[in-house]
């Protein structure tokens, strides 16, 4: 058998696994790998400007294509810079493989130059990680890492490869993909549970589907099955932030997003339901609000591939540990076999229509300033009929985008939900554009968030990626300011974005087109110009500075204690509420 270097084995394994794009940054401890990648005919390497950018690009690539994202960084600071993105991928269940260089095996533990304990540092922010001490193990580890990253509940896997292991040689043979001795995700539901679930759904008078990112992770079959099951049962659907797009927002069954900034109808329907069918969602605190007041009268079916999601926050009546897609298909089959017809839910829908009439997403009109919600709505209208992918940073703009931009298909909405990482959206847009060259990829950003990874302007320029950045510029860390207004009597401690750059000039300095939108009369034309201008475009859209994101369920409050407008804000909160995030 031919001997190959560790670096060659790594790259050959990536090719064998179908990897086309790697997001990375070179450095001392990965030079042997970069030498293999030099003018490589099969693997495209995207040179980032900061390793955190690489991880979010890989996330954006993964979330928009369904394929795992791959990152390559050096030891020490390369690895530590990647940690935020790795943790983000863990919290949002994004399949990602991160290859880190490490100092040579005989130097490990000696505080060598650019040495960090990467497996130690990433142990609890990865699904799994490896330190590979022999080139003979490398091919097997790489294949196993991709298997673990992409199956079960997806997540990030780190492979730490000392430099001598990259240089040393070993016989190479493409490993057989076989089952793992201890890692065996449960994907198929118990038929008895399916039968029970079908009966529960058929008997329910006030059912609701509560869906999450797991449905999107389960692939297009899962989202198709969700649509069919909703059609069969006639029940309403709400979704978490991560699940937007799994069910079409244009459907009359759609109630909008639920949770802290969810719609009135979604949260009230959850609160008053007699059956919640949770699919690939994990009852996180942004969704449930105060736990003892969360949907007190409902039975709960919880479909999740991760057993640890069951009963973690909310006790459920019927846990189904399985893949969302296969379970939804089983439920459809079970429903049809039992001969059920959609129940008469007209009374339930009448109540929902009453909540809908509250029109909780309405916002005050303004003729002198651009309301941020209005800007998002304008962006949505202007991109109708185009293959658009939206990414966001984190903050008010993110919630406004979730509320006012509507998705009819999965994998078109990329946002940092679990970790809430400012600096996610722009690199994610670059990754999404790499994976979807013909899509219109727009990063909706805030003036503060965009600065967290703004160095990646250079990456988009280098690879001629026509991504668009749409900044809702209110000169504040808006969500921080909003919480300070609600909780700390408007003492805006350090939330003003002082010394903002001239974003238009900054864009131009990187070879981008920069556009400024200053008032409502410029909005429509500015958005059109952004869409029609070829190449990368940055829009600095000046919006009303003190707008708040409503509706809002304050931390620790019940769904029924939702704030709908600023008039309900008292400006202070009890210590118990202040202690919650």
């Amino acid at each position: 058998m031919a001997e190959m270097s560790g670096a060659d084995i790594l790259v050959q394994s990536l090719i064998d696994l179908g990897v086309e794009v790697v997001f990375g940054y070179p450095g001392g401890a990965v030079l042997p790998i970069y030498d293999v990648l030099y003018n490589h005919p099969k693997i495209k390497h995207v040179l980032v400007r900061h390793e955190q950018g690489a991880t979010h690009m890989a996330e954006g690539y993964a979330r928009s294509t369904g394929k795992p994202g791959v990152v390559l960084v050096t030891s020490g600071p390369g690895a530590t810079n990647a940690i935020t993105g790795i943790t983000d991928a863990l919290l949002d269940s994004i399949p990602m493989v991160v290859i880190t260089g490490q100092v040579a095996t005989h130097l490990i533990g000696s505080d060598a130059f650019q040495e960090a304990d990467t497996v130690g540092l990433t142990r609890h922010c990865t699904k799994h990680n490896y330190l590979v001490k022999s080139p003979a193990r490398l091919a097997h580890v790489v294949h196993e890492a991709f298997h673990i990253a992409t199956t079960g509940r997806p997540g990030p896997v780190v492979i730490d490869i000392p430099k001598d292991v990259q240089v040393a040689t070993a016989p190479f043979e493409r490993p057989e993909v076989s089952s793992h001795v201890s890692y065996r995700p449960q994907v198929k539901a118990d038929p008895a549970d399916i039968a029970t679930a079908v009966e529960m759904i058929a008997k329910a008078e006030r059912p609701i589907f509560y869906t999450g990112g797991g449905v999107i992770n389960a692939g297009p079959e899962a989202t198709a099955a969700l649509r069919e099951l909703v059609e069969l049962t006639g029940a309403p659907v709400t979704s978490t932030l991560m699940g937007l797009g799994a069910f079409p927002a244009s459907s009359e069954k759609w109630l909008g997003m639920l949770g802290m900034h969810g719609t009135y109808e979604a949260n009230y329907a959850m609160n008053k339901a007699d059956l919640i069918i949770a699919v690939g969602a994990r009852f996180d605190d942004r969704v449930t609000g105060r736990l003892d007041a969360f949907s007190p009268d409902s039975k709960k079916i919880h479909i999740d591939i991760d057993r640890s999601s069951i009963n973690k926050n909310v006790l459920v009546d019927l846990p189904i540990i399985a893949d969302a897609g296969s379970t939804l298909a089983d439920l459809i089959a079970g429903w049809k076999t039992a001969g059920h017809k959609a129940a008469n839910l007209s009374e339930w829908w009448a109540r929902i229509d009453g909540w809908r009439a509250v029109d909780s997403l309405k916002y005050p009109a303004d003729t002198t300033e651009i309301m941020p919600q209005h800007a998002i709505a304008g962006l949505f209208r202007a991109t109708r009929g185009k293959d658009v992918i939206i990414t966001t940073e984190v903050g008010q703009h993110q919630m406004w985008a979730a509320q006012h931009f509507h998705f009819d298909a999965p994998n078109k909405w990329l946002t940092s939900g679990g970790l809430g990482t400012m600096g996610y959206g722009f690199p994610a847009a670059i990754g999404a554009q790499m994976g979807n060259p013909d899509s219109l990829v727009i990063c909706i950003a805030g003036d503060a968030s965009i600065q967290m990874n703004i160095q990646e302007l250079g990456t988009a320029s280098q690879y001629r990626l026509p991504v668009k950045i749409f900044i809702l510029n209110n000169e504040y860390m808006g969500m921080v300011r909003q919480w300070q207004e609600l909780t700390y009597e408007s003492r805006y401690s350090n939330s003003y974005s002082d010394s903002l750059p001239d974003f238009v000039k900054l864009a131009e300095a990187y070879g981008w087109t920069g556009i400024r939108i200053e008032g409502p009369q410029e909005l429509e034309a500015g958005i059109r110009q952004m869409i029609e201008t070829p190449g990368p475009v940055l829009v600095d859209c000046r919006v009303a500075k003190l707008s708040n994101c409503f509706p809002m369920i304050p931390s620790g409050a019940a769904h029924t204690e939702m704030l709908l407008d600023p008039g309900q804000v008292s400006g202070t909160m009890a210590d118990e509420a202040k202690a919650l995030v």
Partner: protein
Amino acid sequence: MHIAEEQSERHVLSITVTNEAGILARIAGMFTARGYNIESLTVADISEDHQISRITIVTNGPPRVIDQIIAQLDRLVPVHKVSDLTENGPFVERELALVKVAGTGEHRIEALRLADIFRAKVVDTTTGSFIFEITGPTDKIDTFIGLMRELGLVEVGRTGIVGMVRGKA
């Protein structure tokens, strides 16, 4: 504002894992990362080919938390099986302690007499001290150490428990 605490129960978990570098850190770190308690932890390889280790962890928490601990352990890639011995019915638990006691006269004689009652073995002796080796369930060892405290206890080393379900399976 005060921080509320829930009622805890003690559980003995037996975990079989692939015997690989970092596995103990992975398990122990999961406990700290998620705020779970470890009362004791033992680990040793148990298979002929040295591929599998058994880790015995004594933990405590409300039942809901114990369920989470088991689920969180179970989803670690190198974990083969997690058994909750406390939940799975009667089981045997044993730990070993070395207990050094120094003293002369009546105290020395009383220490030896108590050691006999507890079936502790003398594994080292000088004219002024003993080291006792004692095995048993945790409460028996606690009691023995408590008695020795009055008789000149110098130091204690304990292994933490290993446990096994009673019966054939």
